[in-house]
Symmetry: C2
Subunit: 441 residues, 2 copies
Amino acid sequence: MQKVDLIITGGKILLMDEQNTHLENASIAIDKCDIIAIGSSFDISKKYSAKKTINAENSLIMPGFVNCHTHAAMTCFRGIADDLELMDWLNNYIFPAEAQNVNKNLAYWGTMLGCAEMIKSGTTTFKDMYIFEDETARAAKEAGMRCLVGEVLFDFSSPNIKTPEEGLAYTRMLLEKWKDDPLVNIIVEPHALYTCSPSLLTEAKKLANEFNAPVGIHLLENKEEREQLKEKFGKGAVAFLKDIGYLDDKFIAFHCVCFDDDDINLFAQHDCKIVHNPASNMKLASGIAPVPDMIKSGVTVGLGTDGCASNNNLDMIKDMSLAAKLHKVARLDPTVMDAQSVVRMATIEGAKVLGMDKFIGSLEVGKKADIIIIGLNKPHLTPLYNEYSHLVYAASGADVDTVIINGKLVMENRKLLTIDENEVMQKVREIAVGIKESLKK
Amino acid sequence: MQKVDLIITGGKILLMDEQNTHLENASIAIDKCDIIAIGSSFDISKKYSAKKTINAENSLIMPGFVNCHTHAAMTCFRGIADDLELMDWLNNYIFPAEAQNVNKNLAYWGTMLGCAEMIKSGTTTFKDMYIFEDETARAAKEAGMRCLVGEVLFDFSSPNIKTPEEGLAYTRMLLEKWKDDPLVNIIVEPHALYTCSPSLLTEAKKLANEFNAPVGIHLLENKEEREQLKEKFGKGAVAFLKDIGYLDDKFIAFHCVCFDDDDINLFAQHDCKIVHNPASNMKLASGIAPVPDMIKSGVTVGLGTDGCASNNNLDMIKDMSLAAKLHKVARLDPTVMDAQSVVRMATIEGAKVLGMDKFIGSLEVGKKADIIIIGLNKPHLTPLYNEYSHLVYAASGADVDTVIINGKLVMENRKLLTIDENEVMQKVREIAVGIKESLKK
């Protein structure tokens, strides 16, 4: 009898492996941060004894969600301005609110609030781009969340960074400081092609190559950006990225709403990755990314919530529901973006996008234990014919009961174990008072 | 000091009256089924004492949602078949499953499960169309839900009805039986123009007129239906409805996806009502109803979830989120369908659609007490700048804590008081075993 730290027993399991294996009355044995064994509850109980056992009867066990694009600290701006023209929204609300209020304190507490929300809706890993990302990393680590974080780089200054050179130096600091961390990973993140000079882009890519780190960027989020960049470069934005050596398997582009077939083919040829953000694209009226075509062409596509200024939540189940429905109605074809494919986007495909699929994204022996348990004994999840269908079309983030990240319990029966959520909410409410005041000026 | 049955105290209140009044630290006094007073907590506490007081600190008090179109008993088919071509879905799954399984037992328990789900996500009134609607009415009444129900009428037979004449007679029975019920109201519901002969349509309207009842019908749900009806009638479907005397203020059309400007103008001229079902329209790839144009033209538009075979849930907050986002992206205009307008669609405008706005849909003295209380002290609802924004873009059905219908508490702190939810889920699971078996044949 082998002694392990934790056994989750008696549940239905979606492994999200390449075969989309589905197990009934099954168990998972976890030791330290690793998945040691997966099998029938009977087999596991004969081979392993555990310090702690979680009964997952009437529950679904699956890998935690991978949120491939957010700005976690922007929880502080949740709902401050909606339903506005893009430029009105940016210039009269978001930019002034950010310029006057974003500091280390906001970055830390805003991220902590984001982590509370993400854990409570089943996300175990998030990819972040914002300001003061060392604070983001610190908050995520304290919350026990896995993350891939990068300081936003652009030509102009931010509350944290005065020059492009400072931004690159800060990113280098992050890459060195967090190099061997079990939870925090670093990405190099130029903001967008319309906010970064070619030299900043080139230096950013050099830095990423030096550390074998991924590069992420907002790309072709709407029609105006596409037209503006075409005029600026005299060619398509993706063709330009190819010229400057960006297109490789560690390149991640967010949004990609206005991609045409040539863009998709270039991404497929170079194994570049795409993050789809349906809630943000719909709410900001950016447009509809050709996601079914991207997937058909072999591009790996993950799912992201974007930040709380443009969503206004960090619930991956909501974005799964939108990803499944939006493309059906846009193409008048109910067969595109089936539920299982969408759950894959939110788990293993997302892990591939972030370059983390070797150790997360599916439940397999040898991978890290990033696991969520969803209670099924609820009216809106009854009856149960198909788990993927329920996840995408009926569930909500509040159905997630228990969350394990890197082998550690971070939420049990909806109680957060790593975050004092009342303290976090109080801190962010205080920050919000300042934000409201600053917008009155 | 006037003694009343119930006081809800200390909350933020959205009245959803014509002025969209918003109150802070306010209270509502309720006696029997009526709202007696609304005002500051201080004023109410001086004038009224209550048998029971609910503390709504850190909570939002608002009218319950009005689900203007569903097939509640179809919860039994939730997730049985998704992501399929419409005709494959209908002919190989839904129709055979219904033909073999729908009976009084399914209608009763399926509705009861639907009521559990609706109450738990803040719906207090629903409009239903299905088979064995006397069972639907019975279940709703036992659950304490307000409803407007109608037996589906068509030329062919159903598990309940053999001929059109029988359908009309059954509807007459419903109209007479439930005439003076405080919760159950009856609507006359021909299924659609492609399933009902002109004579059935005419007789149905006559029956409705005799009882001063509303008439509801599925209308122009997709392009195929529009083309088919145009060929059948030699004119547009709405023009045909005008000819047969259907267009008046008691006429309610569901879906209306393929409405053109002429259709909208005819509806506006005759004060006809429309129910928008965004989740169903997206999931079935029916198309995008021109809802912003309908509202601009003065047509009253409510919101519905449709049934659980095509949604697959009955959560009005999810449909609010879709209604707000879908039209923005379809029109590339982030200003259409603002949050406040969408919350109105889900409450007072829905009540107008059902002809019930004299007594529900907003919180006003003299109206019935159909009230929900939503807890705001949660990470995903923090900070709070705008309540409408949170309802539409951040909340979920699970945030609804307490529900009062017709003055009666039906859920308190998420515990259902009128329904034994474990019994209901067990009954529907048993029904689902039969449904699965029947589809194997």
